[in-house]
Amino acid sequence: MDLLQTNGIEKQFLGVKALKGVDFSVKSGEIHALMGENGAGKSTLIKIITGVYPASAGTVYFNGKECKFRSPLDAERAGISTVYQEVNLLPDLSVAENICIGREPRTKLGFISKKQRKVQARKALARLDIDINVSENLSSYSIAIQQLVAIARALDVDCKLLILDEPTSSLDENEVKELFKVMKKLREEGMAIIFITHFLDQVYEVSDRITILRDGQLVGSYDAKDLPRIEMVAKMIGKTPDEINQMQAGIVKNSNFGDVVYEAKGIGRSGTISPVDVSVRAGEQLGLAGLLGSGRSEIAQIIFGVDPHDSGTMTMCGKSVNFNSPQKAVKAKVALIAEDRKVTGIIPDLTIRENIILALQASKGMWKTMTLKQQEEMAEKYIKLLRIKTPSGEQLIKHLSGGNQQKVLIARWLATTPKLLILDEPTRGIDVGAKAEIEALTQQLCGEGMAVIFISSELEEVVRDCDRVIVLRDRKKVGEVAGEDISLKNVMKLIAG
């Protein structure tokens, strides 16, 4: 029998079937990619395997025994470690504390041995070839390092099965390579790895086998070398390869630009971003490219008034403005879909309807209330328009999958009819189908005369969609390419310097 085997797993949430009888198995010493669109049931399946949710029906066999884990800790003790998409560590504790939490080395008297803990943490990180100060707070490191710390923590226990849920979405190319090296090494040691990602290249680079889910059902398990990429995508989204080609060819850049919507001269903030000029015209899609920490998101934060700027001036539609709070930016019809959906986007315990109308209501102020009927109509409209997968607008947003949450946030900002829309990593952690939808949508919005600033760590996306690209390195603007000059090669050259 394989190391992990599930038979007929079913899961129901409030009447919605998230999984419909999934059989899935993983062998020791293999890297197994679990693929599927948003809401296909990948995360749910993982959560059942690791004991976050109980299954509604079906059985899980691990290591030859039937298992019913009651909590992730329970699963961890049995040898299943998980690293989630969003880093689930404690930012205000040190790296060493984070790695050893719950299993601190003890002194003879039973107290925690701080010295041993540091040694243990360094050893765990050394396995991943990371050399950082383990006494520093976790929050003082980049998200990428935090992700690697999370993996180090997962490996620190006697682990037979490692589950990596979107581990690469915040890593740059070199870091991804490092991670893959580690994964291959672990495979040789006989560990089983379940790998969830939306990056198709990465799947083929490391995976031995691929299992595809769609709408909560198993499509099939395949050897990676026997499954051509286009066919995999076709199986994931349930369309034929021809149809996919048509979808991708459908993206047409808008070339009809109107007046300048937003213009900033020399805006900057010491220690965050050096003064930079930014301007966008109506119907234009401006890309901000650069590595993680190059200052891409910082520019977006300053434009939207989240962080104050200490130099430069800005104008909106020709009028001089000074956005020192998001409220002012929202009132001037600027919208920002920020990077970290969980922290700066969703209000988890509110309904989809409330999440959608929130920004519009905030810009109207407290007294001009929308009636419940107006709210429902608006929610209904955007659920249909953006094809948000939900039984109704009264569902809490936290019950949606990541991609659908992202669509709700897009709806929230479209509802305010913005003149300038800033998208910061809108496609992060989102599957191929939804990505194409979002790309097509931004093109359509540009066509309707909206100015768009698009930030993405996936250069292909930036190159494919943008009319002009500002390239940043080390918190400075290092160049700008436009029109025909936009190519992967040119942008990469500028980034590398």
């Binding site: 939207f304 989240v306 709070s325 998001p326 409220q327 930016a329 929202v330 009132k331 920002l336 920020a338 922290v343 700066t344 986007g345 969703i346 209000i347 988890p348 315990d349 509110l350 409330e354 929130l358 920004a359 209501q361 905030a362 810009s363 109207k364 102020g365 407290m366 007294w367 001009k368 209330t369 929308m370 009264e394 929230r412």
Partner: protein, 401 residues
């Protein structure tokens, strides 16, 4: 139909608990539900015994006893109600234990409004008891000055000038709430620490206002607040109803409720959505201060004096409890004003039941705590699931046999 049942789901367990408590009283307490219609005997205030100024401590005790007496034995309350002041519009009013519970519970019911909103933003206000003392103190001081003719406005006469101390108390309490809001929302101090300042210092401020004395009063307007009747019910009940209606309209008919829930659930994301999160938080503390002012006036009116040491003592805890029992999470987010109202009534019913069952005041907190624990456990979905699974497994085993 599903929608409606969701809307009232948070009310189920507090209401069940309240019903059980009332059932207990119906069986074990004589005449608990007996409600009489009384005729108002005198519209004129009786002369109050003046407490000597040089015996503040003894007076404090006397006042505390007076308050306890009102709660303790309804018969006594009845005589005191007859003795005093109450003015009734139709000359008739309802009298009985349930009415007494509503009258005595009015303070916590009012406090719970503000507390619910503050807790919904993820904060807490532990200063409301002290703010009640401040409100009572300023009202008593001003009315005594007016009675003595030492304050502008005395010319209006005692039938009208009571409005001055009431307004002053409300303004001062609102300023206290503004102070709390400034510390929490303006300077980013932890709500528990920020409001601790006023919790400790507030009683000192109240002592300062009254110069360390207990000031008694007998102005008909002030005394009417918690002792008078209107439209068959104690006037305090009408105050509670009015405030809940206003709070309900303010939060559900404007977007304030949505903004409060949004800020309490994810403050940073709310800011990114264009909500002025700090202003919203600030506003809830101001509202909470105003509610504490109303509650302080009720407390002073109840015992016809301002006792800076004992007015509203520990009532912040009852208000927090009422909010939690009502289904609002201490973590912030969704809030339920109706739930807090039921929670406050539940707490007062419990207190009154204890006194009627002659539980000694020294140990009354123990049975109260036990009931509170049970209600909180019933509210917890985790606990209910555990209990249900025990029953389910037992039933399953029984079925096999």
């Amino acid at each position: 139909m599903n929608k409606t049942s969701n809307k009232f789901r948070h009310l189920v367990w507090p209401l069940v608990s309240l019903a059980l408590l009332l059932l207990f009283n119906a069986i074990f307490t004589d005449n608990f539900f007996k409600i009489e219609i009384k005729k108002q005997e005198s519209a004129k205030p009786a002369v109050q015994t003046v407490v000597p100024d040089n015996l503040p401590a003894a007076a404090g005790e006397a006042a505390a006893q007076a308050e306890a007496a009102v709660q303790e034995v309804p018969e006594q309350a009845q005589t005191s109600a007859k003795d005093s002041k109450g003015v009734s519009i139709f000359g008739y009013y309802l009298y009985g234990t349930p009415i007494d519970i509503l009258n005595q519970g009015a303070k916590v019911m009012v406090l719970a409004i503000g507390m619910t909103l503050v807790i919904a933003t993820g904060g807490i206000d532990i200063s409301v008891g002290a703010v009640m003392a401040i409100a009572g103190a300023i009202a008593a001081l001003l009315i005594s000055l007016l009675d003595a003719g030492k304050c502008p406005g005395a010319g209006m006469g005692p039938e009208f000038y009571w409005i001055i101390p009431i307004l002053a108390a409300l303004v001062l309490a609102t300023v206290a709430g503004f102070w709390n809001g400034m510390l929490v929302a303006g300077f980013g101090i932890q709500p528990m620490v920020a409001t601790l300042v006023l919790m400790v210092a507030g009683r000192g401020v109240a002592q300062l206002i009254t110069d360390g004395q207990i000031i008694t009063f007998d102005n008909p307007g002030l005394v009417f607040l918690c002792n008078g009747h209107a439209l068959f019910l104690p006037f305090s009940v009408w105050i509670v109803i009015t405030m809940y209606v206003i709070a309900g309209l303010l939060t559900r008919k404007t977007a304030l409720g949505l903004f409060i829930e949004s800020v309490g659930n994810n403050e940073r994301a709310s800011r990114y959505a264009g909500i002025e999160a700090r202003r919203i938080k600030w506003l809830t503390y101001v509202i909470c201060g105003f509610c504490a002012g109303v509650a302080g006036l009720l407390a002073a009116s109840n015992i016809k004096c301002a006792d800076s040491n004992n007015a509203g003592l520990y009532l912040e805890l009852d208000a927090i409890l009422a909010t939690v029992i009502g289904g609002t999470s201490m973590a912030g987010g969704r809030f339920f004003l109706s739930g807090s109202l039921v929670g406050a009534i539940l707490i007062q019913t419990l207190t009154t039941t204890m006194y009627m069952k002659n539980v000694s005041p020294a140990i009354v907190q123990v049975p109260k705590a036990m009931v509170v624990i049970i209600v909180c456990l019933l509210q917890s979905p985790v606990f209910r699931a555990k209990v249900l699974s025990i029953f389910a497994s037992k039933a399953a085993k029984g079925g096999v046999q």
